[in-house]
Symmetry: D3
Subunit: 193 residues, 6 copies
């Protein structure tokens, strides 16, 4: 019981761990927990789109893929050139006393291997969450985001993720709530009654 | 495709939506996305602990349970006394054009009904994430957190969650990394080589 | 006495309540208290400009118009489509034990009715404060602010407020301190002595 | 018209001007605008409590009393030992082109003179807002706030403000919403229906 | 000993003192400590580039040049038109009990006199740090930064600093890590092995 | 010239790099630049106290000791158990095109070797800055800071630093400005005139 509680406090540090890429991008920002949340939602959609994929595995991989960062911190592409992260040891130390520790380790290993369909979908979910953030910052005026986007999309593996990415680039990040609602934004919803 | 992209930008607003209870607590703070992330991790553990539970359902319910807040905002217990939130309409509007929209709606409805085993576990995951945050703030010196904890634990439904909660109250939120490592904190890991 | 103190702590939560529209705008940000402060200053100017207006009423209405948000939270235009806020109950609960409670309730009711000259001026003060913020964000590079401005100005009621709004759109938000002062910005004020 | 707009953008900088005392206190924090907002609300209550006081004057004085800080910045008690602030020049420069500029200057001068009943009430409103913040920080565990409180209350001038201050010290800053509501905090308001 | 400790806690307040110019610029931000850090690094480079300069003096002047702001706060160009800062008294009060107090005072006096080579280099280091920040904000989309840059470069004194400034204006603030590394940003450093 | 500019933008990223220990401590926070600033000031005092020490070397070592973190990120004691940081490569890459690159590398190597008097003083300056922050957080109510302090002081090398540390533990972090000034805090400095 104590081991589960310790594990949950540890996972909580991911809420306080900033994704370090945004220091370099110069605008935006999120925690590792925020990133993992939407990555898991994207993973669900990617898995549902592919009848061969095991949805539960893709979602759990996405939810767990950055667990090691509670102990290692988050490293951006610049950092990675100078830092060797022992992700395996971090994952083992954080899971070894858990009843489900072995399952978590296995899922993370599969994610990192990129060999199964599920791993590829979870890898793409990881990238797509970042691409959505970059598009948001581009829409808000950050010109560096445009260049970052160019590289990020090349990291995508599956066709469906690439098509989604093309659509993200073409979509204004405010469209979901702002588009074509003049009457509403002027007068508010009450006037519709 | 465009509908999926709009949905994902919408889910992204949960990264920017602060949980409003912390204004009243006076310390701490997190986004709805951060809360949903750990709630989903807790959900996984609760489901794995119960052989009768469908893990995938519990995890997805936890991941999705606050989706409506992208459109409605987050409401704490004070707010709820004065605000009627049309969660159903928010959930339908945000999912209706998605290929998997109906599944998401069904899962959220089940969560809110609190009738199935899976719904109860996801409800407890939601509370346990909050209890962990309150314990953290209590450890950091916020005395109000102690009183909030007293109420929060009473909202728990399942026995295992109640036991976990008892253990959370007894565990220092720093134990997972700080305990009994004098040599390490003084000299660093390099000296162990 | 205790009732006044409780009321004042309650009003203080408005300093900690973020205006939720900025999550969607993507830049900028302010508390409800900050908004109410400048709205009250604008209200003073609008009232002084109109010999028929009761200045005290317009200022107090502006100062008080978001009091209910201490209990309900702040709701943007997206939120309002899904949330029904019982402002009346919130206002009554927060004022009922105050010696001046009835006057506050009456002023807020008048504000919401939009029927008197004073109410219209206070409504415009509320919008003008937002228009000034949007212009500031537009000047800082947020393109969404341009579209928001287009809708916000249509909510204005009185002619003088509309003219002020036209002037706001044409004025650089830095002009008040930056314009034509080359010698000063290069050498500082000491060189003028 | 342009002069009014410039003035309003200038007043807006008070939303971005942090009150510098909190750097020294070590917790809490607010903008000058947030402080002025509640000071004006307190001013209203103090004036209403005193039949001889001109409510409008007390409220406006409180609303305007820190206008000069848009140009001078905010100075805490440590700063004031080393800094001479030409408040008069700042106030004149920011109001001189306004139609109501002279009235604003006169009100601020009266506030600073501390000679009239209205000025004394507005001075006390200024202090009481700070005392409420200090009490809040004390409740949240900041021990320095206790000492600061000891000095702040001695700056109060009127009897009613002193009595209010005594009551503030005795009141928990969470009482207004938290007290004696066990059923509610456990089950939420929906269960009351 | 106690005097040194008090001095060090005092210097620590510079970590919590925001540079007030950024309120007006509308984006970016830094503490006085952050500014002083890079100013000292720049000072080192400027001194090393000039064989006649005493490196230690230039570096220490830069490190110490804003010490008084722990007591006075930071004042931008607008503030300075209305505020007279007794920097000398602040510096004396903060150093008078230190064994090296006189040396610190002498260095700061020399910095302010702008008469020696070392003072001029330290003055330029102070400006160059600001010019680098303005260029960063310009690259991120803040148009006001362009105008500020125009004035800031005119404050530079030495030829080498002016040439550096010209180069800063022409350099993208992301070049140091982002330029021409397509393979790396797409695949990460691991693929190079 | 371009190489110097790139280097300076790179050093600027240290203003945006949070020291990661504070995520675990749960309160407080600072950038690497803020830490390096006061470490360099402490280094100056430690060197001046020791007639055998080369002041310039100790100050520059402290100023430069975390340069590598611009490329590697900041790693706390938990991180270091799982991460191998190639500091040497980071330092070489960031300095190799600088005219003074070799001197910087040599100073950082000496710092890391801990073999010379100057290196030991700079190492102690690094720790003492952290000890001052921990004491501040302890004074503000964070109980974990007490335990962290216990370990941090054991990392000190020189006698004078150990004595300073003893004095830090006994000194209230507010004493430098708050002590015994009742008249001043009540009435402000103007009343003294």
């Amino acid at each position: 019981m104590r081991d589960i509680v310790n594990f949950l406090f540890e996972v909580g540090i991911l809420k306080k761990t900033p994704r370090s890429g945004y220091q370099f991008l110069g605008s935006g920002g999120e925690s590792v927990a925020e990133h993992s949340f939407r990555a898991a939602v994207i993973a669900y959609l990617l898995a549902k789109n592919n009848p061969k994929a095991d949805t539960q595995k893709v979602v759990l991989m996405s939810l767990f893929h950055d667990f090691h960062e509670a102990r290692t911190g988050d490293h951006n592409y610049v950092n990675k050139r100078y830092v060797t992260v022992n992700e395996d040891k971090a994952v083992i130390d954080l899971t070894k006393k858990l009843p489900v520790g072995q399952e978590i380790v296995t899922l993370i290993d599969e994610f990192n291997s990129r060999e199964t369909l599920e791993a590829r979908l979870a890898q793409d979910a990881d990238q797509l969450d970042f691409i959505l953030e970059l598009k948001r910052q581009q829409d808000l005026g950050n010109k560096s985001a445009t260049e970052w986007l160019r590289y990020s999309v090349k990291r995508l593996i599956t066709d469906f993720a690439k098509k989604l990415s093309d659509e993200i680039i073409k979509t204004d990040s405010s469209d979901w709530w702002f588009k074509k609602k003049e009457e509403l934004w002027v007068n508010g919803p009450n006037k519709h009654k």
